[in-house]
């Protein structure tokens, strides 16, 4: 069993706890022991970082400090694109000694310190690169009779020079896993378009205009649903489609499936 710190983030445990449930169910099947920590918000790599990058970095560093585990920090498994991006980018920025010293200084009054930086993984990247597609295949007991479109979300791959997951313009790990689960993949025109979530800070109408383009192209190919890996994208798209489907004829509501959820189902769990 590989021991990992489970980083749930803010949205999953409160708004889509079924994703947390699914992850806790499939973890042992994949050889993972998940450990919980009193993490704070990751924090949000859009809002908080826009306001104050040092604050964003320091709060992220506090989370990284919690998994220190003596001299052997636990690797972090993030279930949300945003949490992954924040923690991974922070871990890279803190490789700079001066920055680390400054941040440790700010953490000092709380009696915590980063001695060694932990590894940070996105669940999707981890499933392919560390668990391996063959091990996933072994656990599948039920083929999913679904035709799904896919949305990866920006912060799973970008900025690619720091995150190091997949090529942002050509990600395929979710494709690879869904094929193993028996899902038929339905491409659509705006597959790589951003969900627009971060625009909510500026202008909700703008966010909806971006989303309209995306949802229209999904409706055009009429999938059974859309497979996703990010709860922020989910919130933006689910909330957005309720509004847009009322006023746009070209948009029909669709169902969103989290990867963890699909994996749990195919491994025989009933959620």
């Amino acid at each position: 069993m590989t021991k990992m710190a489970l980083f749930l983030g803010c949205i999953i445990p409160t708004k889509v706890p079924k994703v947390e449930k699914a992850m806790r169910l499939i973890a042992p099947k994949l050889g993972l022991e998940l450990v919980d920590f009193p993490f704070s918000c990751c924090p949000d790599p859009t809002g908080v970082k826009s306001a104050n990058e040092l604050l964003w970095l320091t709060l992220a560093a506090r989370n990284l400090a919690l998994v220190q585990n003596g001299d052997d920090p636990l690797p972090i498994l993030a279930l949300c694109n945003g949490c992954f991006e924040t923690l991974k980018m922070a871990a890279i920025k803190l490789q700079d000694k001066q920055t680390l010293a400054l941040v440790n200084d700010l953490l000092k009054p709380d009696g915590i310190e980063i001695k060694k930086l932990p590894e940070v993984y996105h669940v999707l990247d981890f499933l392919i690169k560390e668990v391996g597609i063959d091990k996933i295949k072994e656990q599948v007991v039920q083929s999913l009779d679904l035709r799904l479109s896919i949305h990866y979300g920006c912060h799973y791959t970008k900025p690619s020079n720091l995150l190091g997951t997949e090529k942002p313009d050509d990600p395929y790990f979710m494709h690879e896993i869904l094929e193993v689960l028996g899902v038929e993949i339905q491409p659509y025109l705006e597959e790589r378009l951003c969900c627009g979530a971060a625009l909510r800070f500026v202008n909700n109408d703008l966010a909806l205009e971006v989303l309209k383009e995306k949802l229209t192209s999904i409706s055009a190919v009429k999938p059974d649903g859309v497979a996703i890996v990010c709860p922020t994208c989910f919130e933006a798209m689910d909330r957005g489609q309720k509004i847009l489907s009322r006023k746009e004829e070209s948009i029909q509501k669709t169902e969103f499936f989290f990867l963890e959820e699909l994996l749990a189902k195919s491994m025989g769990f009933d959620l």
């Binding site: 090529k167 942002p168 313009d169 050509d170 339905q186 491409p187 659509y188 025109l189 705006e190 597959e191 790589r192 055009a220 190919v221």
Partner: protein, 792 residues
């Protein structure tokens, strides 16, 4: 050294008024009389004029002189003239030394005649000191084999081969692929005149294949290149073809029965071929080839169909590689470039979206001899496209992949647009571009013609291509930057105008340097554009940089001309300044081997072997030899140190010793002189061939003799005439500085600066700045710890 008595003659040149206006030449000559071993001094009006030279010759004979110093101008222009002069008088030409009192004194100290005269005396003293230690040297001549090796038989290699072979020299033309012709053989039409590519290339391919002076070896690589200019020993490995070229009638019966079908790489993998195949109908040699990776006949039990049907019995499954050895005089590298990789731009979806093509795929599809017989259809449904887009600069001008402009792609697209319009006048064509670069003869004309025919040009660097999964049409999004508007245009076929990158071929067995982008580096970007720094090796075509057919052919003929120029001499002269080894001192440590960019040194059984013909005489190896086992003739340690000692005889703390390389920094100081850029009189310049020649020991000698400050100056980092000499000079600085620290020598007293031959103004500033600093801090300079006697 010979036992004969030293008899030095010093000739001071007035250079009309150029020198005499500022410097008291008679006083200088008078001063020189008292220098050791000087038996004659004289003053000429113009030493380099015919009467001046005659006077020198006469005096040499009259006074039986065996060392000659002329105090005049720069050796960069006048050394060869005076060397010839002393040679005529029966003195070895290397027993001559020029003292530059014009560029380094009279021209740059015009307002200080007295100080200039004093400096001129120092310069003469330095030259006499060196002259007394000069040794006679002989120029070498090596044999020149009248044969060229040409590596790569695309249009550049073919053109060069024909030029050389037509002049009566032998050519060995080696091509990696089973046919010659390169990229040009695969494209349809050529810009700017829309000639059919294979129609103009085909006859040349045939001609080179049949030329009595050309040995064409296809399906082969150059495995070994030893030796040096005029005398390269070369091995070529010809891979087994499994078909006898001389027997094969190219009837094609074999391919008809071959059961194996694989993608045809000569059609950009958009069509199929058999395991036994001919790349394209006009291939040379005109013979089939078996791809052993695909052929089932490699195991005779499995298949033997083609052999069974081959009437001339040309097929031999047991064929073996062959290795041929050649003696070669000159080499032309024409290995070409590769088309950039479309997967480096995943935003364009090549490989995922069927209707996104590279320009090479487009060339094959529009080519009458290609897989669709020239019908333009889109791959997803074989329907004629109506709305075609070209995207420029794919794989070019991108710091993440290839940062340079690939030069030919704009014109290729313009040509293709005209070609489509010719066959499909109703097709809508849009070219998305950043800048259209139509810089060439007749280029603007066809750009205009393309617009006249309705081709739309939109200034937009396309950001992304998306595919409609239902229609397989493509949406191109970007900003129309002339309008500042977002565009999301639908097309049914997209052509990515691919740039070029250096081919990934394995390293040639030649020590050629490369640009940061991995193209081969020319010896000089303007004046030696097809030479390499290695004598006898030339570049042609896309191996040097991305270029059009026109430019490749031009360069190929130039390279052929350069090669013929060498071969026509029959012999190759090698300057006498090449490195010498004192075998008793050498331990075979091999440090020098690493310093040499030419492969002139190698250690065999702990013994150092010098290939004199490969040595360029930079002296970098000499400077780093820990055992003083190497000697740089004409620039020996003793000679350089004698110049230093002479320069520092009086008021050493006011002297700035500047070590300058012959090619860049000396040139910069000359330029300052020619431009009359006035400077303080403190500097004393010592010329070596390369900054890499100056060892820590030499620097120490200067400080130990009380030098005020020292400048070490060479070519800018990428410009070293000897590729890496300045790099090694720079590496020594750290140790020089730590030695200075131990000796209590302030850091400001040493500087390393790169000055090019074009930077006269910079030289003036540097001399002024360093001299002023020296004067201001003169009092802080402690006299050297060691006495002069100890130091020398």
């Amino acid at each position: 050294m010979s036992e004969e008595e030293l008899r030095v003659g010093v000739f001071v040149c007035k250079c009309g008024k150029n020198i005499a206006h500022t410097i008291d030449c008679d006083a200088v000559a008078e001063y020189a009389k008292d220098l050791p071993d000087v038996v004659f001094t004289g003053v000429n009006m113009f030493s380099c004029s015919d009467p001046g030279q005659q006077e020198i010759e006469d005096k040499i004979q009259e006074h039986n002189l065996n060392r000659v110093v002329v105090a005049a101008c720069t050796p960069r222009t006048h050394e060869p003239i005076f060397r010839e002069c002393v040679k005529r008088a029966g003195v070895n030409q290397y027993l001559f030394e020029l003292a530059n009192i014009r560029e380094h004194a009279s021209w740059v100290h015009q307002k200080e005649p007295e100080k200039a005269t004093e400096k001129a005396k120092d310069i003469v003293n330095m030259a006499v000191s060196k002259a007394r230690l000069l040794e006679p040297l002989e120029d070498l001549e090596v044999n020149m084999e009248p044969a060229s090796l040409i590596i790569g038989a695309g249009i550049a290699g073919i053109r060069a081969a024909l030029d050389i072979a037509d002049q009566g020299y032998q050519v060995v033309l080696v091509e990696k692929k089973p046919t010659i012709g390169g990229i040009m053989a695969l494209i349809d039409k050529t810009f700017p005149t829309q000639d059919c590519s294979i129609c103009i290339l085909g006859p040349l391919m045939t001609e080179v294949g049949r030329h009595p002076n050309v040995k064409l070896i296809s399906n082969a690589v150059v495995e070994r290149i030893d030796g040096y200019v005029g005398n390269f020993d070369v091995s070529v490995r010809k891979f087994a073809r499994f078909v006898d070229e001389s027997l094969c009638k190219n009837c094609g019966d074999c391919a008809d029965v071959c059961p194996v079908t694989v993608p045809n790489e000569f059609d950009e993998n958009i069509s199929w071929r058999k395991a036994i195949y001919i790349p394209f109908p006009q291939a040379v040699p005109s013979a089939r080839v078996i791809d052993p990776d695909d052929c089932l006949g490699m195991n005779p039990i499995t298949c033997g169909k083609c052999r069974d049907v081959c009437e001339p019995k040309a097929i031999n499954y047991d064929d073996q590689d062959e290795v041929f050895d050649y003696k070669i005089g000159t080499i032309i590298v024409s290995t070409g470039f590769e088309i950039a990789d479309p997967l480096d731009n995943p935003e364009f979806g090549w490989g995922r979206f069927k209707n996104v093509l590279t320009s090479m795929e487009f060339e094959r599809i529009i080519n009458a001899a290609g897989p669709t017989d020239g019908h333009l259809v889109r791959p997803s449904d074989h329907v004629e496209p109506q709305k075609i887009a070209f995207i420029q600069c794919v794989g070019s001008r991108d710091v993440n992949n290839n940062p340079y402009c690939s030069v030919f792609c704009c014109m290729e697209t313009i040509k293709s647009s005209l070609l489509i319009k010719e066959h499909y006048p109703d097709a809508e064509i849009t070219v998305y571009y950043m800048d259209i670069r139509a810089a060439g003869k007749r280029f603007e004309e066809i750009y205009t013609s393309s617009r006249e025919q309705g081709v739309k040009y939109i200034r937009s660097s396309i950001a992304e291509i998306k595919e409609d999964p239902l229609t397989k049409n493509l949406f191109l999004s970007g900003e129309d930057t002339t309008k500042g508007k977002y565009i999301n245009n639908e097309h049914d076929l997209v052509v990515l105008s691919m740039g070029a990158q250096k081919s990934n071929e394995s390293e040639l067995p030649l020590p050629l340097s490369r640009t940061p982008e991995n193209f081969y580096m020319e010896a000089h970007p303007k004046l030696k554009p097809v030479d390499t720094p290695t004598a006898g090796v030339f570049l042609a075509g896309g191996a040097e940089s991305p270029k059009s057919i026109h430019d490749s052919v031009t360069q190929a003929s130039a390279a052929a001309g350069r090669a013929i120029r060498l071969m026509s001499q029959g012999m190759f002269p090698i300057e006498g300044i090449t490195v010498q080894v004192i075998a008793d001192n050498c331990t075979g440590c091999g440090i020098c081997v690493e310093r040499c960019p030419y492969g002139a040194l190698e250690v065999i059984d702990k013994k150092l072997k010098v290939t004199t013909a490969l040595c360029s005489g930079c002296g970098t190896c000499v400077a780093d030899c820990p055992r003083d086992a190497l000697v740089a003739p004409q620039f020996t340690d003793e000679q350089i140190k004698s110049q230093i000692s002479a320069a520092l005889e009086t008021n050493p703390e006011e002297k700035l010793i500047a070590f300058v390389c012959n090619w860049c920094s000396y040139g910069g100081s000359d330029l300052a002189g020619i431009s009359r850029l006035q400077q303080p009189t403190n500097p004393r310049l010592i010329r070596t061939m390369c900054s890499g020649r100056i060892s820590r020991d030499i620097i120490q000698h200067a400080y130990n003799n009380g030098a005020g400050s020292i400048l070490l100056s060479g070519c800018h980092p990428a410009d070293c005439h000897y590729l890496s000499g300045n790099h090694w000079a720079e590496k020594r600085v750290k140790r020089i500085r730590s030695w200075m620290k131990r000796e209590g020598i302030d850091d400001w007293r040493f500087r390393l600066e790169w000055v090019s031959a074009g930077e006269g103004k910079r030289w003036q500033n540097l001399m002024t700045e360093m001299s002023e600093q020296l004067i201001a801090n003169k009092e802080t300079i402690k006299p050297p710890v060691k006495t002069k006697e100890e130091a020398s």
